[in-house]
C-alpha cells in the first residue's frame, strides 16, 4: 500500500488508546473514493475517511443517538437498518462498502455481505474473532461465553447475535465466491499478526480481523 505517508500511524493511534482497526480499515480505502460505512456508529470512521482519505463517505446507522451525533457533526448519515436498507442501493453505487465491527450484529450476515459486494466494487469487513485463544480458553476452562474487552456484554444482552471466527469468515467468503484482496489480523494489543503465518495462527492470535474483498466477476455475486 502506498499510503504509509498518510497520518494513519498505527503506533500513534495505539498509544492514544484509539481504535487501530479503524486505521487498518481506512488504509484499505483508496483516497478520494465513494464509501458507504454500514453501521457507522458515532461517525468516527466517516470522519477519519473524510479527513485523511478525502473520501465522499456516507453512513447507515441503526441507533438514533449515533445518527444524530453524526449529522450534527456535518456527516452524511442515515438512520436505517442494514438488514433491510441495503436492498435499496443500486449496483456499483460505491467504490467501497465498509462493515466495521458490525457483521456479528446483523440478522443476515451472508445477505449483508452479498449486498455489500453488489453495492460496492469492494467490501471491507472488520469483526471480532471468536476463535481468539482467550475466547477458546474462556469456553474451555470456565464453560462460559467469553467476556473480553472487545466482547464486553453478556450473551443475554449483547446485540452480537452472529459471532464467527476468522476461519468461519474465510469459508463464507469462499461460499460467496468473492476474492480476498487483503487480510489483516490484530492481536489483543492492536499489533498486526505477521502476514506469513498460516490461517490457524491468525485464528488463534487475532483478536480482530479486517478483510478487503472484491467480486471475482464483474456481474452480481451469487
Amino acid at each position: 500500500m502506498a499510503v504509509r505517508e498518510q497520518v494513519l500511524d498505527e503506533s500513534v493511534v495505539r498509544s492514544q488508546g484509539g481504535r487501530v482497526d479503524l486505521v487498518v480499515v481506512a488504509e484499505m480505502v483508496a483516497p478520494g473514493s465513494r464509501v458507504l460505512d454500514v453501521g457507522s456508529g458515532d461517525g468516527a470512521l466517516l470522519e477519519l475517511l473524510a479527513t485523511t482519505r478525502q473520501c465522499d463517505a456516507r453512513g447507515i446507522e441503526l441507533s438514533r443517538e449515533g445518527v444524530n451525533a453524526g449529522v450534527s457533526r456535518g456527516l452524511a448519515v442515515i438512520q436505517g437498518d442494514a438488514d433491510v436498507d441495503l436492498a435499496h442501493y443500486p449496483d456499483d453505487a460505491f467504490d467501497y462498502v465498509i462493515l466495521s465491527q458490525t457483521l456479528q450484529a446483523t440478522r443476515r450476515p451472508r445477505w449483508v455481505l452479498e449486498q455489500m459486494l453488489r453495492i460496492g466494487r469492494r467490501a471491507v469487513v472488520s469483526f471480532p474473532n471468536f476463535g481468539h485463544w482467550r475466547s477458546r480458553l474462556d469456553l474451555l476452562v470456565n464453560g462460559r461465553m467469553p467476556l473480553t474487552e472487545n466482547m464486553p456484554v453478556p450473551w443475554y444482552d449483547t446485540p452480537n447475535i452472529h459471532f464467527c471466527t476468522i476461519r468461519d469468515f474465510v469459508e463464507l467468503v469462499e461460499i460467496l465466491d468473492a476474492r480476498m484482496e487483503k487480510a489483516v489480523a490484530l492481536d489483543s494489543s492492536g499489533h498486526r499478526v505477521r502476514v506469513n503465518m498460516p490461517w490457524w495462527v491468525w485464528n488463534l492470535l487475532g483478536e480482530q480481523a479486517v478483510f478487503l474483498l472484491s467480486r471475482k466477476n464483474a456481474g452480481r455475486p451469487g
Partner: protein
C-alpha cells in the same frame, strides 16, 4: 369564552380580521410584482398574468450572493418566519430555528421567506384583487400546485439576483416545496432540508383535507366562493376545518399530556353540548382564531396543492428519477409521533435518494409532539440543522461561522 382566549381577545378579533384583509393586497412585507409580460405558467395549463409575491428577508447577502437560504412555509404559514406576525402579533413561525446565532443563522446567512402562491398574506391567491375584474379572484383563480409555488419562488430569486441557494429548508408542505425545488432546479439547490414531509400526499391526508374543504363549502356563508363580494365570511366552516386539521398536527400523547379528560372551568359535566372538556375548548379557540387570519378560499387552494403533490408521478412513477444525477446534499428529518407525515414517508424519500446516488442524511427524532414538532422546541432538530448547514456552507466555500 374559554381560558385559552385572553379577556380582551373577542374585541380584538374583528381587528385581526381587518388586518388580515389588508395584508392580501398591500402586505407589511417586501413585494415584487410581475406584469403581464412575465406570466407564471401553471400546471393547470393556464398562465397567471399578474403575479405578486410578498416576502421577508433576514440577514445580508454576501458579495458572491452565495449565502442564501430559502425557507418554505407550511399550509397555514406565511412569509413571516422570523419576525412578529403583522396580523396576529405572534412570533414568526420558525423563530425557534431562524435568527441571529440560531441554527439558520441570520448573521451568517441571507434568509428568504415568501408567502406561497395561493396564499392570503400578499402573494397572489384567491383573495387577491384580480386586475382583470377589479374584484377578488375567488374561484376564478386557477388551481395551483406545489410546483407552481416553487416556480413562483424561482421568479422571486431571479428578481433578488440569487443564482444558487445554499439551502432550501421547510417542514410539512414546506418540505414538499423543498423536494420540488431539488427536483425542478437541482442546479440551483446546493443543499436541501425537508422536514416532516413526504414525496406525496397520502390518501389519509387527502381525506382529512377533503373533510376540511367540505366544511368550508357547506357553510352557507361561503356563497359558492363569492363571500368576499357579498360581504360575509364562512367562519363556521373554516373553523371546523381548522379544528379537524389541528388534531392531525398533534399526537394522542400530546393531547393527553396537555388536556387529558380535564373539564374546562367547571367541576362537573353540564350534560349539554357546551365545551365541557378542555380539549374541546382548545380546539374551538384554534378554529376561531384561525378564521380571523386566514382566507377560506385560500385554504381550499393550498390544501388542494398539497393533495396534488406526488413527485414520483412526474417522473414515470419512480421517485429516484426525480433526483437522478442530483448533486444536492439532502438532510431529512422526521418525528416519531408524527402520524400525518410518518417516518416511513421520509424513509421512502431516503431510499429514492440512495437509489439515485445522492448525498443524504436522515434522522428520526424521538418526540411526542406530533407533526407540529418541526415548529417547536426540539434541541435535536436544532443540532442537526446547525451541523448540516455548517457542513454545507463549508463545502459551498463559505467562511466558517462563529463558534457555538
Amino acid at each position: 369564552m374559554t381560558s385559552f382566549v385572553p379577556q380582551d381577545a373577542t374585541s380584538l378579533l374583528p381587528n385581526i380580521e381587518a388586518k388580515a384583509r389588508q395584508e392580501v393586497n398591500e402586505p407589511h412585507s417586501a413585494v415584487v410584482r410581475f406584469g403581464a409580460d412575465q406570466p407564471l405558467r401553471l400546471d393547470a395549463g393556464v398562465a397567471l398574468p399578474h403575479l405578486q409575491i410578498a416576502y421577508q428577508t433576514y440577514g445580508e447577502p454576501n458579495a458572491a450572493r452565495s449565502n442564501a437560504i430559502l425557507v418554505c412555509h407550511a399550509l397555514t404559514g406565511d412569509q413571516h418566519a422570523a419576525n412578529p406576525n403583522p396580523v396576529t402579533g405572534k412570533p414568526g413561525w420558525w423563530e425557534t430555528l431562524v435568527g441571529p446565532g440560531k441554527p439558520i443563522d441570520t448573521e451568517r446567512f441571507f434568509v428568504i421567506s415568501s408567502n406561497v402562491l395561493g396564499g392570503c398574506m400578499g402573494t397572489t391567491g384567491p383573495a387577491s384583487l384580480n386586475p382583470a375584474t377589479g374584484r377578488a379572484y375567488g374561484l376564478d383563480m386557477p388551481v395551483v400546485t406545489i410546483r407552481d409555488m416553487v416556480n413562483a419562488q424561482a421568479m422571486l430569486l431571479d428578481h433578488l439576483g440569487i443564482e444558487k441557494l445554499l439551502c432550501v429548508a421547510g417542514g410539512s408542505m414546506g418540505g414538499m416545496q423543498v423536494l420540488q425545488w431539488a427536483a425542478s432546479y437541482p442546479e440551483r439547490v446546493f443543499s436541501a432540508l425537508p422536514i416532516a414531509t413526504g414525496a406525496r400526499h397520502s390518501a389519509q391526508n387527502i381525506a382529512f383535507h377533503e373533510v376540511g374543504r367540505q366544511a368550508v363549502m357547506a357553510d352557507p356563508d361561503w356563497r359558492g366562493g363569492r363571500y368576499l363580494a357579498e360581504g360575509v365570511t364562512p367562519h363556521r366552516g373554516l373553523a371546523v376545518a381548522r379544528m379537524a386539521a389541528h388534531i392531525t398536527y398533534l399526537s394522542d400523547q400530546a393531547l393527553h399530556r396537555k388536556f387529558g379528560r380535564r373539564l374546562q372551568d367547571r367541576a362537573n359535566p353540564t350534560f349539554g353540548f357546551d365545551a365541557d372538556f378542555q380539549v374541546e375548548s382548545y380546539l374551538r379557540h384554534q378554529g376561531e382564531s384561525f378564521v380571523q387570519r386566514f382566507d377560506a378560499n385560500s385554504y381550499l387552494y393550498v390544501t388542494r396543492a398539497m393533495d396534488y403533490f406526488d413527485l414520483a408521478e412526474d417522473y414515470g412513477g419512480v421517485l429516484a428519477n426525480a433526483f437522478a444525477g442530483s448533486k444536492t446534499r439532502f438532510c431529512l428529518v422526521s418525528f416519531t409521533s408524527d402520524w400525518l407525515f410518518p417516518t416511513e414517508d421520509s424513509r421512502a424519500i431516503v431510499h429514492a435518494l440512495n437509489a439515485s446516488g445522492a448525498s443524504v442524511s436522515f434522522a428520526e427524532i424521538v418526540s411526542d409532539k406530533g407533526h407540529d414538532a418541526f415548529l417547536l422546541e426540539e434541541p435535536e432538530l436544532f443540532a442537526i440543522t446547525r451541523g448540516f448547514l455548517d457542513s454545507a456552507a463549508r463545502a459551498f466555500g463559505l467562511p466558517p461561522g462563529r463558534e457555538g
